[in-house]
């Protein structure tokens, strides 16, 4: 899957969690949680919802231990393409 395609899918999942979040405004190395104000007062509830959304959409397992790899936009996309590419 192309990176642009992957980014679009991530954006779709995000739209269900934080409708006003715009992934295109996030810089590659920026922390998504800061940039999009995920997890305000509820213990990474938003982040968990992002992981669940990706799990359901892409059919991949994302172990908790891997979460830190997903915090930046570039980290997230690299991780996902590696998972999907197998």
């Amino acid at each position: 899957m192309k990176r642009e395609e992957l980014e679009r899918m991530v954006a779709e999942v995000l739209a269900g969690i934080a409708p006003e979040a715009d992934l295109t405004t996030v810089e590659e190395g920026e922390d998504l949680r800061d940039a999009l104000d995920l997890d305000s007062m509820d213990f990474s509830m938003d982040f968990l919802n992002l992981v669940i959304g990706l799990h359901e959409k892409l059919g991949i397992d994302i172990p908790e231990a891997d979460y830190p790899k997903l915090f930046t936009k570039s980290g997230l996309l690299t991780y996902l393409s590696a998972k999907i590419g197998g």
């Binding site: 409708p19 007062m41 509820d42 397992d61």
Partner: protein, 420 residues
Amino acid sequence: MGLFRMPSLGADMEAGTLVEWLVKPGDRVKRGQVVAVVETQKGAIEVECFEEGTVEELLLAPGQKVPVETPMARIRAAGEAPGPAAVPPPPPPPTPAAERTESRPAAAPSAAPPPPTPPSAARPAGLKVSPAARRRALELGVPLDRVHGTGPDGAITVADVEAAARGAVAEAPSPPPTPAAAVPPVAEPGKPVARRGFDPVEMRKAIAAAMSRSKREIPHYYLTSTVAMHRALAFLEATNRERPPPERLLPAVLLLKATALALREVPQLNGFWIDGGFRPGPGIHLGWAIALRGGGLVAPAIHDVDKRPLPELMAALRDLVGRARSGGLKSSELADATLTITSLGERGAESVLPVIYPPQVAMVGFGAIVTRPWVDEAGGLVARPVVQVSLAADHRASDGHLASRFLAAIADHLQRPENL
């Protein structure tokens, strides 16, 4: 014969505006069934019925704003004979939105089109959509911006969504929704949608009123404690390793359950201060403060927390956060909390001293879980994840000694996470 009244959804609510009826005369209703959508300062709330019976008559029309306790519908209990045709007239309309004297149900928009309601100055531009209509739109795959709203302030109702889905011209009269279609009891955890029709200015006013009252009336006192979290986090890690993402637990759910179990031991902090005395809560229903995008917060209740297993509480918490943000909270969730918790989240501040939500008598705060130097049982210095737990309590209802025991009980439960 029972009267279904405008519910009070918290100390700060004085009035509500009926957005939509989800039942019509002749419908059978059950306890806990969502029968109407009411617009409050906290957004659109789904109001539940607390009686079993048959809807005899709807006394309010969509768009009418009435004070708390005003009768909204007459409900005939099962087995009761139908009541007389004569009915008490609806109360005098307190707002321009309620100029009609005749009360017609929403089921016939073509017969009685609601007059246009002057939009409140504070309302932001954007669509008004009832939670039920939003869900229906999701189910039917109808983009809301293509739906023509016929409700008050142009609000989109279930009937409007269904009309749009059929490809019908939105302006054409639409048949009343069937009850089955109007009340899809579908929670959509993890799939919150934009919270439309939510007014941040009104929300701010509601918070201001409740918090001012709290600081005016409640003599707060505060206690804090630092609690080691290594056992709790190790338990979570082991539990989550074997579970797919949708079944994983967050630390929040351990804090929630530990608080509930501690309240069992110190029930004097679970309840309300009303008319100069303490009234114990009817159960351990914990309010969970949820920050809303766009500002403000709500603290809906999770019921009977002490009696429910962790996975169920986790699902409840996810569902609640999603619905708080999309505007689909139920009246019982807003009215029932017996103590409220505020948890600042994984990357929040280290501690918080909360302001009690009246008429509750205590509030618990959890800071972020952070790693700090800690002296372990053997006297050695180690790095440990810890959390600051704080309690704000009403000095009219309790004293520091009792509150201390309560914090110790929370700490104790968090050291035995497998028993939570």
